[in-house]
Symmetry: none
Subunit: 226 residues, 2 copies
DNA sequence: AAATCATGTTAACGACCTGTTAAATATGAA
DNA sequence: TTCATATTTAACAGGTCGTTAACATGATTT
């Protein structure tokens, strides 16, 4: 497996050293030297891991991470921080499966963190497929929607749609996006079919009024949790 | 071989989850929820491996490990640490053949570490081939399905299918997964053949209604015990 | 307000998936 | 070879799910 890493580091020489060392160890590394280009590079490619320097002049690592998360909730993010940084702040951001590493660090250390991430994602773990939705817990790989006591088994398509909504809670999903992702195509009838699914999912989610699939007229849908 | 594991974990619910998951995979697990009882349990029994949480209120994992080492220099010890822990400290302790695993981890990951240890000491895989299924006891290497008094001998394929279901009780096995694992291929007729086997196994398991092979329409099967 | 288009909801149809039994075929031992 | 057993194929009966249609409601434009 050829692991692809996005490295965003404003210090050019440090960035080069890390890139060079990691490539010697068999990883494929794309280096960006500011947050802005890091984001656009991320959006145009696919990466297995992102390594972000927190302290960067124009756009800091946390901001970049937030924008990456809008597109991808799963990709592991490793923050690079200075020792002086308050641990609380970093830990808050790196919650939910992400991690951080403190300068100065050895490449061995860095590689260890990377391998931990990769083992977690390649070992078919269920962690990244489980979403907490208000009173519900949805496991998109086991197709189960749990609530206090009860378990409902969803069909594959129901699960596909709900999973997509879960992964994109930050933004409104366009109708055509959902259709392309779940049905592979986009026409009038598939659109109506999708509406039927949305209706069914809403019925399942009625138990907790805080969880809502909201329609954006003429655009699409978004899963919102009040 | 029935591998015996000592698990010392102060978080009761996490401990139970790990124990449960490992037992589903064929290990015998003894759970202690503090270092003190962990030590006494170790001294009164024999274990093939010890899993110790490092951070515990009264007696931490390292202390327990030191006392275990006074009695037994060989038994492999696996430390469970939090992400924030200084790696130097853990690495110092886990030197000399021991290992550590960082929270959060998947059970797959944990099992991998365990198997590495066991292979190192015994030289062969050690997952138990005997499964307890409600009122049944199924031995996948001897092809026997026991119930109170009665013994039924299964065919190799019956046993392969049931064994696969047993090993994956926590998730839904896709039809193609079963076909690939047992038949080595996946086509329409093999699929129908599999359905015949499922039907036969269900007949054998009818004696205990709590044990059920549940179909997930369009996806696959899962062995569930109520 | 009327017209038009987008979405919500329900029900029914049909394609496909599964359960089961039995017959046909393969496998292997005597 | 024959016989016994294991597995595959066939056939049929239900069952499930996604799509479509139909109608209701809501939003936006004219």
């Amino acid at each position: 497996m050829n692991t692809k890493i996005l490295l965003v580091e404003d210090d050019a020489s440090l960035g080069f050293v890390i890139k060079d060392n990691l490539e010697m160890r068999g990883y494929h590394v794309t280096l960006c030297n500011d947050g802005e280009s890091g984001e656009t590079t991320f959006h145009q490619n696919t990466f297995d891991i992102c390594i972000l320097d927190v302290m960067m002049p124009r756009k800091d690592g946390f901001t970049v991470a937030r924008n990456i998360r809008k597109k991808d909730q799963q990709v592991p993010i490793l923050f690079v921080t200075a020792k002086s940084m308050l641990e609380d702040k970093v830990e808050g951001f790196s919650a939910g499966g992400d991690d951080y590493i403190t300068k100065p660090f050895s490449v061995e250390e860095l590689q260890m963190r990377i391998e931990v991430f990769l083992r977690r994602s390649t070992g078919k773990d269920s962690v990244d497929t489980v979403f907490k939705l208000g009173k519900f817990e949805f496991d998109s790989s086991n197709l189960t929607l749990r609530t206090e006591g009860q378990v409902r088994t969803l069909t594959q398509k129901e699960s596909d749609v709900l999973g997509l909504l879960c992964k994109n809670r930050e933004r409104v999903l366009k109708r055509e996006e959902i259709l392309k992702a779940v049905w592979g195509d986009d026409d009038y009838f598939l659109g109506r079919s999708m509406d039927v699914f949305i209706s069914k999912l809403r019925k399942y989610l009625r138990y907790d009024p805080a969880v809502q699939i909201v329609n954006y007229h003429g655009i699409g849908f978004r899963l919102e949790i009040k």
